[in-house]
Subunit: 366 residues, 2 copies
């Protein structure tokens, strides 16, 4: 199911086998919450080098509902994407006041954001939904504490997450689908370590690090990543949820992470920001008005092959949504290229140099 | 410059030679006001069968300005589109309260919609802008009367449009660029006839019918189209401005029109409406929730080849903009297919049958 191919210190490259093909790690998943990445077509995601995306099972279970997805022949057929699909359980939505009503030992009560009705999501239900959707990788329902929670709350959430993880494992019935566990523990080293150890012990197909990228510093995050990965099995894939900037991805690869997801590249694109090898640029800046170069001169994406900074700036300035589309395509391609280069660099035993070179280029911290 | 290839009654097919290649008529131009069709990439326009688009010279002259377009190497290079480009002069904006301050014999005073400053557009200035942009076909500045104007106003606008057309012709300096005249005359047969005759007499590279599709009935429009075409040279291309529904295009081809433009296919897409060979459908309709067929079963566009009605409805229902994108790609492809089929049907002397078949399918009037 997962095979390590090469390692350089803690960084690794491997192959994850799913029902929709093999995916080389490390890889980055753009977020297609409701089955589509905002403003970008599936064919454009593929051209950008995307091998796997992540959808939100809970939101899909509300609309269009699992029955319709099932009738379409599963999530791949429904959304028209024949490569890897992870589904998130809905645990992350517990952080949102828009969704959460209450979380207790039984599960989570959500507001339906579409019609204001309520729905109840237990660990078993979260797994059942994902079984029905037929994603390649299902995620356990976890109890995510808010950033800055008390130690009592972090402890409660970590312990509950373990109990929920066991219930998820017992409820999982789709043999073609992999199931990943998720650890919690906030920024507390001991709780994070305990949670990671407990999750590893349940023996999932892969282990994920949850509850990060919600307000902590990079060094706090890196510390927790190291703690978790020290507890996770070496021969299982490690997934850090919510990370998506080139610098963060490279740092976390160096701490042993294999899989990433984030709406970050597309979200900053919608804020008119392009990633480049010399740092981020805001395309509205006046200095791009007569700049006929591509967003990044080494980039081979559709946007950079066809359009200049001046044109994209013109579209952004006159509020044309195509500017956000072109920036989204570029940023996703840019991150995919970083992940691809990291993979090669690890195989060729020069990943540490790649990271140093990248940082030397004064890439801004996103 | 224009060569008739085949005729069936008044319908005709021909070839328009431009600085960016030959374009077979009849053809339809999607509207790329500021240099990009809303939500659709140039490569997607090409895949949809688009050979020519129309941009708005006046708006481009305000932002980014002719200097920047010139520096980019002309409008084709600036926007990344290597096929035909028409530019509209800005005359149509006189219908909009958002833009118009005042129109008199000298020209039009506009509000700049971006920064609230004012700008003055004379016939000479409108042509100069288009010369600088280097579009393939420039349009004269016309004085467009509002729908329902008094006869006095319609007469004034038609006479002024002729005087402006002469000034445009005199001001036109770009030898690689074609210049089309535009007739006015409201819905008054005599004034429309007189205006068309006067415009034809100035001997432009092509003749356009302006001031229609702004509130009149289809039969009123058809009458004016017939009147204008009876005055225009037979061996010059005829362009009806603002028409873009399949039924209207077919009707007007049968009255001898060669060129069309409209934002209609993309605009109704943004209102969640798809064109099909059996009439328009609103994708939000509940009956499409479990409909896994493509929008139109005979359509070969990207959307129909990859996505179902049920999926597009799901995206539309959950307010994902990709639904509008997928519908835009489909509708533009659908109209391009109609124009392509019309071309073939005229060559094969079966255009009248094509129109009858189309109407028999109970295509709704859009």
């Amino acid at each position: 199911m997962f095979k390590l191919v090469a390692e350089q210190e803690n960084a690794r490259t491997g192959i994850l086998k799913t029902a929709h093909g093999k995916i080389e790690t490390p890889f980055f998943m753009p977020v297609a919450t409701k089955g589509a990445v905002k403003l970008v077509s599936n064919s454009e995601l593929e051209e950008a080098g995307t091998k796997c995306i992540i959808c939100n099972a809970y939101l899909l279970s509300i609309s269009p509902g699992t029955k319709i997805v099932k009738k379409a022949g599963g999530i791949h057929k429904f959304i028209g994407w024949n490569k890897g699909i992870f589904t998130d359980s809905g645990g992350f939505q517990t952080l949102s006041e828009k969704f959460l009503i209450k979380a207790d030992e039984k599960g989570v009560t959500f507001k339906n954001p579409f019609d204001k009705s309520t729905s109840f999501l237990s660990p078993e239900k979260a797994v059942e939904i994902q079984n029905l959707l037929e994603s390649d990788v299902a995620m356990c329902l976890d109890d995510v504490p808010l950033h800055g929670s008390t130690l009592t709350r972090i402890k409660e959430s970590a312990e509950r997450t373990t109990r929920w993880a066991e219930r998820c494992k017992n409820a999982h019935k789709n043999k073609k689908q992999l199931l990943f566990g998720i650890c919690q523990g906030g920024l507390n080293e001991k709780l994070r370590q305990k949670s990671s150890k407990e999750i590893a012990k349940i023996e999932f197909d892969g282990n994920a690090i949850g509850g990060l990228c919600i307000g902590e510093t990079n060094s706090e995050r890196n510390k927790m990543v190291k703690v978790s990965n020290s507890q996770f099995q070496k021969d299982k894939p490690r997934y850090l949820m919510g990370v998506g900037s080139p610098k963060d991805i490279l740092e976390c690869i160096s701490h042993g992470v294999d899989i990433f997801d984030s709406c970050f590249p597309a979200r900053i694109a919608r804020h008119r920001t392009a990633m480049t090898s010399k740092g981020n640029i805001n395309i509205l800046n006046a200095r791009f008005a007569k700049d006929f170069k591509p967003l990044d001169k080494k980039c081979e994406c559709f946007t950079c092959q066809n359009h200049s900074r001046a044109f994209i700036r013109h579209l952004a300035k006159t509020k044309e949504e195509n500017s956000l589309r072109l920036l989204s395509i570029h940023n996703i391609s840019f991150v995919q290229k970083i992940a691809k280069e990291a993979k090669l660099a690890i195989k060729e035993n020069r990943f540490d140099k790649m990271v140093k070179d990248f940082k030397r280029n004064k890439q801004k911290v996103f």
